[in-house]
Symmetry: C2
Subunit: 457 residues, 2 copies
């Protein structure tokens, strides 16, 4: 059965590629309120694909924001039920001038497809859809029961999906979640992710004079919000990189000596990594290796900061306001709400003289997540990866956040296995995002084998 | 003679106003390279007005950048020669969304004309032009010899005028300069400015990874340029507001006890000032009053700072670069080049780990300036202001920079008297710049009397 399904995918690779190019041409940026129409279009596109693939009960569920796409095929009695998760929304595209080609006019070159969202997460999502189409077209059935839940708000913190899970827990009931989202560590060897960091983001502003002043006429008289913001932001870290917010590390689950050992033994070339990202040297919390800092230590990053004149030349202005966005990555035992409160208190206590501070309401954060090592979904993934790549996959953590895993655990009591064939170097969340054509092929084959092996367990 | 000239101005106020509205409709932003055509248009407009007013040798001199407009009337043998200086270029308009009406569609409301450049410096420039037109139309002659030198690069640091003065010192020879630029201290009493601060601006950037990274995937591994920039900017001041750059205050000419006394005795209500600008409190170098800090102490202001994601929502990015523009105000004895070098050294010495620092080439700075108290041009201005406003003008310094005064002293050995009827509260360099209609009337009358009185000295 699986063989004919694999043959079907080989024979139909060109139309699959065409469908991927169509999918990534839709500018479904969830953070941009001008993209509502594209969001709807992407959801409708998925509804059509899932229905034409032969899935049942294909439904576009309205939410307060962007629709959720659901589909199911439940005609494998006695077999496990897998909930396939992914998202059809994409990151913003700025800085647009750094893109070599239009982010929404996909271009194939050197075995890669370049487009916003192709790696995160439309390529992986389409992989799962095409595998169901292949099974249903060849065998007329899937080896296991499958449900799809595809959302359009992942890149803005999934504001609707919790409520949907809470009110549709029966519809979504499953043995575990298989996620199209999340990427492999790197291209050189297969990997499986067993833990991810949580996150918590905030935006705040500093206000001085009620309008922009002339920096000569008024400079020296009143506080400059840009100085105040710089000072406030600088106060969040010690110069050596340790976070200076009181109590920030209090709840952190420290790595055990064996965990540190396991990370040390991974094939990781720090020098090569730094060459790849282009930073002159590594930097961060003292006392930890680069991978430890990135995987198992919390961070507090400024993700945006602005105020005053940014144009050509000079403008002698003492600006009225300055703004910053920060984002924390959290590790096990840290609570987003607690961290938010501690940072707010720090900001208030460190507010420089002469300005007002305003902290914006922010999205709820996400705690860190991890999956048990002996999980059947994880074991199946290991076996499939070993078969495809002829080597044992390595077990990694990731620094990024996969908030959805926490929600699935909360509302569906289900663990999440990340089984994506995109790779961490594919510049998602940056200009020139791409997805490797070979990985699309690997992913199609792997998902076919995964369902087959799971059915046989 | 003066009386009929004044009558002429009264009778012709409407066409004068029409000409001002036409002048300020030209978007001659010198900092914006898209405004070349408007710059030429503004210069041509002035050439036409000066010629139609009856001035001689009206010439548009080409420079490397924006043209200089020259005109003369030298038929008053034995009388002083005054060089009238002003500029026809204007500040950029952003943030454009803070303007109530289009910056280049002037609107009159509540006795004010709202438009970019109307106060700085097109209103005052037109005042001088109209006074020559009035004299030449009524008396057929001016009471003194007058030359005009109107530039189009004041708002970008006057890159061409020095060279022009150096090569045209004979053409521009004069007893002193009467400047249309510079504004009165405030609307409640007439004032004369006897000193201004110098200035020195710089731009610099901090670079980390070679492209934007995902803040989760990479956060903790490498330095974030936004942190590094915030830290670097914060390092420029002590928390109490004193500039922390090594040697920054070394050459500062300290105020004498009598100078401090004179400033203390000025009618200045700090509380009211703070209400007007809207800052919650005063802030700056400790040990000096607000006015002392603003008039006689150097400053270092961040005028722009940016990096990362500034849009709606959140983008989990660890940005590749961060940028800042800073601007210093200097006091007597400080050298712009020396200050620039000291700040550059500070930035290099304080560069945080993990990033590269790049300091941009910047415009030459301007030293501070002051005019002798017994200067004939200053005395004449005092007398005229007393006649117009029926009160003794107060003698003030200004915190802003009038770079041109230094150039006139250098190349023409001429002092500069600032005789503008715009006011410091008129939001030049900010949204909703305006000029008071009454001040336009006062200015016209004052310039008529000024030339008359100077001729009689």
């Amino acid at each position: 059965m699986a063989q004919s399904t694999l043959d079907y995918l080989d024979a139909n690779f060109d139309p699959i590629m065409d469908r991927l190019l169509a999918f990534v041409s839709i500018p479904s940026i969830s953070a941009d309120s001008n993209c509502h129409e594209a969001i709807e279009k992407a959801a409708d596109w998925l509804v059509n694909e899932l229905a034409s693939a032969g899935m049942h009960s294909v439904t576009k569920f309205r939410t307060e924001h962007n629709p959720l796409v659901y589909a199911e095929w439940l005609d494998a009695p006695g077999k496990p039920t897998v909930l396939v998760y992914g998202h059809y929304d994409v990151q913003p595209v700025d800085p647009l001038d750094k893109w070599k080609t239009d982010p929404f006019k996909p271009e194939c070159r050197d075995g890669r497809i370049y487009a916003r969202g192709v790696s995160d997460d439309k390529g992986p999502v389409l992989t799962a859809v095409e595998v169901t189409r292949a099974y249903l077209s060849t065998a007329g059935a899937l080896p296991v029961n499958i449900k799809f839940l595809l959302e359009g708000e992942e890149e803005i913190g999934s504001p609707s999906i919790d409520e949907f899970m809470r009110t549709h827990s029966e519809l979504l009931a499953c043995d575990f979640v298989l996620s199209c989202d999340g990427a492999m560590w790197r291209i050189s060897e297969p990997s499986l992710t067993v833990a991810s960091r949580g996150s918590m983001s905030m935006e705040f502003s500093v206000y001085g004079p009620k309008k922009d002043l002339h920096s000569g006429r008024h400079g020296g008289a009143v506080a400059n919000p840009l100085h105040a913001l710089a000072e406030l932001l600088a106060s969040l870290h010690d110069p050596d990189g340790r976070i200076a917010v009181n109590g920030f590390y209090d709840q952190v689950a420290e790595l055990s000596e064996s965990e540190r050992m396991a990370i040390r033994e991974l094939p990781f070339d720090e020098k090569k990594y730094l060459e790849e990202v282009g930073s002159p040297e590594g930097f961060g919390e003292p006392g930890f290796s680069l991978l430890e800092r990135n995987w198992a230590r919390p961070t507090l990053e400024i993700v945006g900061m602005w105020g005053g004149y940014q144009g050509e030349g000079m403008k002698t202005v003492l600006p009225a306001e300055a703004h910053a966005k920060i984002s924390c990555r959290l590790v096990p035992n840290q609570s987003p709400a607690d961290i938010r409160e501690k940072i707010s208190r720090h900001l208030q206590e460190h507010r420089p003289a002469g300005v007002r501070l305003e902290i914006k309401e922010s999205e709820r954060g996400v705690p860190a997540y991890s999956v048990p090592e002996n999980h059947i979904g994880l074991q199946t993934a290991k076996n499939v990866l070993k078969e495809i790549y002829q080597q044992e996959p390595i077990i990694v953590r990731i620094g990024a956040t996969l908030p959805i895993a926490e929600a699935f655990r909360n509302y569906l009591k289900a663990d999440t296995i990340f089984f994506s064939f995109s790779t961490a170097d594919e510049d998602y969340h940056a200009p020139n995002e791409f997805f490797r054509v070979q990985r699309l092929k690997d992913g199609l084959r792997a998902w076919v084998l995964y369902f087959k092996e799971l059915a046989a367990t």
